[in-house]
């Protein structure tokens, strides 16, 4: 018997989290006398910020290492998963890891009676608005929490790693047992709170697991692209046709690459209050992915299909509350916000403010002079972190 776990994570931001969870499963399973190994989906590399990626762990109680490797070792992706872990819940809207792969369902690999395990603060019903139907029943389990984001070389030590291990033990003890998770964490770190966090997540996950019936979930609109045969390369060889040149004013006015939209990269999207816009052009000018479409009335529409949620526009916008980043799961389509605004200006304001809510996402700046600029204003750095540059400015 082989158990397969996949960890769906955000490229770079959660790279170490995914790798650690995969490696932890191998070590815990080995301590339980099982055979296991772990690898990443190599096609994901080199990872880009936020791109949906995967890490795998394979565990068997009865096969030899050689047999387990023979079955699982030289494959780029898995055919089915006993547990699909999702460490950023916005990926339930679909994942598009690279061009020509298409937007794939987050539960694509979950097998019958398997489990989709999501780190989220949203409930089952909210997630099922996006998770597509399957022809058989499976389980949806939740680990309450935010997406744990860090960076290329670091892991944010917020216990997500430990809690996910506890949750995996809850949804499939045939992979790792909670006792083995606790023993491993205690021995490796000598810190009791880590084992306790795993146990608490284990208990909570047992309570949060829900059976999803066949046909329950969202309709799925995305098709898997057909890849070309070798004969189709005879004309151009390694050269591929460029994205056609072209530009017109208005929504979706710019020619873009249809084979890779990258929109599933985002955890947050910018919501624009067009009535506050001073037409300074900065969002359009600074957007690294050219997501803003100029309109005839001097505004800039957002194409959410290609926006990766990088926050740049919200950072550079000089008008307070004009561009605000909002949790991607609050939206169920990629429609043009500018068209909404033109159709119903007052209704759009109400809608935008409802989405924006009152909480604001702020990330501390990590480079530069010790000053940060947020919505046109210098924000003084915190004293304890300011350093010499900040003291000079002060």
């Amino acid at each position: 018997m082989i158990k397969r776990v996949e960890v769906n994570y955000r490229g770079i931001f959660q790279k170490n989290l995914g790798k650690f969870i995969g490696g932890d499963i191998v070590q815990i399973a080995s301590r339980m006398g099982k055979v296991a190994f772990s690898n990443g989906r190599y096609s994901d590399s080199p990872e880009r910020n936020g791109i949906p990626c995967k890490y795998f762990a394979f565990v068997s109680p009865d096969l030899s290492e050689e047999e387990l490797e023979a079955e699982c070792g030289a494959k780029l992706d898995i055919d089915e998963a006993d547990v699909s872990v999702v460490v950023d819940d916005t990926m339930v809207k679909g994942v598009e890891p690279w061009g020509w792969h298409g937007v794939r369902a987050i539960n694509e690999k979950v097998r019958e009676k398997g489990c989709l395990l999501v780190v989220s603060r949203h409930g089952h019903d909210q997630l099922l608005k996006f998770v597509p139907k399957k022809p058989f029943s499976y389980r949806l389990a939740l680990v309450e929490g935010d997406a744990s984001f860090a960076g290329l070389w670091v892991n944010k030590d917020d216990l997500t790693r430990e809690r996910v291990l506890g949750a995996i033990a809850a949804v499939d003890p045939g992979i790792i047992s909670i006792e083995a998770v606790e023993a491993y964490l205690l021995e490796r770190t000598k810190e009791r709170h880590r084992a306790e966090a795993a146990r608490a997540a284990y208990d909570a996950t047992l309570r949060s697991t829900r059976i999803i019936k066949a046909g329950e979930g969202a309709d799925w609109a995305h098709e898997i692209p057909r890849l070309p045969t070798w004969k189709e390369f005879e004309d151009l060889g390694v050269a591929v046709p460029a994205v056609p040149r072209g530009f017109k004013m208005g929504p979706r006015g710019q020619a873009r690459n249809d084979a890779f939209k990258r929109g599933t990269t985002k955890s947050h999207r910018p919501v624009v209050r067009f009535d506050l816009c001073i037409k300074c052009t900065l969002c359009w000018y600074d957007c690294p992915d050219e997501c803003f479409d100029p309109t005839d009335d001097g505004l800039y529409d957002v194409n959410y299909e290609v926006c990766v949620g990088c926050h740049k526009c919200a950072e550079v916008c000089p008008v307070p509350e004009c561009i605000v980043m909002v949790d991607e799961l609050k939206f169920d389509n990629n429609d043009s916000p500018w068209e909404h605004h033109k159709r119903d200006p007052q209704g759009y304001i109400t809608w935008a403010e409802d989405k924006k809510g009152t909480e604001r996402i702020h990330y501390p700046h990590v480079t530069g002079t010790g000053m940060e600029i947020r919505q046109g204003k210098f924000v003084p750095p915190k004293q304890e972190k300011g350093g010499a540059a900040a003291e000079a400015k002060a």
């Binding site: 290492e65 047999e67 023979a70």
Partner: protein, 407 residues
Amino acid sequence: MATVVQETNVWARDALLNGCQAVAQAVRLADVDVIAAYPIRPYTEVMDALSKIIADGELDSEYIVADSEHSQFEIVKHASSVGARAFAGSSGTGWMYGFEALVVTATDRLCPLFVVGNRALDDPGAFGVEHNDALALRDMGWLLCWASTAQEALEHVLIGYRIAEDQRVLMPMALAMDGAFLTHSQHMVKVPSQEAVKRFLPPYNLGKRRLHPDNPVSIAPQVNEDWVMELRRQNWEAARRARTVIPKVYESFNDIFGPRYANPFFDEFMCEDAEVVLVGLGAVAMPARTAVRRLRERGKKAGYVNLRWFRPFPTEQLRATLGRMKGVGVIDRNFAHGSPDNGGIVVQDIRSCLYPLTQRPAVTDFIGGLGGRDISIDDCMRMLEITFEAAAGKQRDELVTWIGLRE
């Protein structure tokens, strides 16, 4: 496949390591003196792991980040000439960029060890495995072998240095491992103890060839037609002697670490009574073995030969094993366009090796897994079936079948 034997004083610990990290651990155990690094995926993680090992104080070594692969390889060549045990590695086009340095390392009879994380050659850009990078060494007077697990990769750094530095050999050693499937897969690996490694791997001693103030020599002067042919001839002799040194080194390894390797040159999987076998290098052994097992369940006498050493080519040993077969299917994860059968590189050597036999098996070739595409269990079963057909005398239009290609 070889199995790990537990011996308390020989293995220090079990550790979770991927193929790159396993190689780095072996470099630590081999107490390498000079490491030159230049990043290219998938090799990069080897240099990352080594820099951490050095920063953690676990290895005292010169660690030089070069400006390119060419400088990187020149640095270890020179280090090797003064008697330093040296290590470098690369992948794909980076490896090819340093090729001038690789060629002279062999003609100078210097013996650093290089790891090649196999990667497709550009263009187009691709990170996945393809064997053309390492196979480009095949005519250059190098030792060239493939590891197919992280454990084997670790052990073959030690085995590799021992063979390369043997006074009868003195050849550079390339240890190839499949990008992704081996370099980036995390396994529980048994790490040998330093004492056991010391028993197995003596210090590097270049003897009279060593460049040193106490031993003034000039290496590689301009000689033109007067000397070249004689120098090539002694290179030839060393490569031929390596064939007899290699089994002795494995014997010594097995003595210390347990019976790890029954056959130094290749692993035989279910070959004893086999009628048809596939031959491949590296990670394709994984699906191929499962395919063999499945065909055996149907009563078909299939087998798999996991070819480890490609240079020196184990001619006699392969002749003995493959000569018993009715059919041999060669899996080429490489290309040799325009070669005699328009097949891959490995099939040419296998066919040449079998040619002197009066009773020759039918040999057929498969090109697959290029650029890192998976070779599935089903693909391997299909290859076995085609090889069975060839063995039964079914005429095919071409010797070569492309596997997993979108037609």
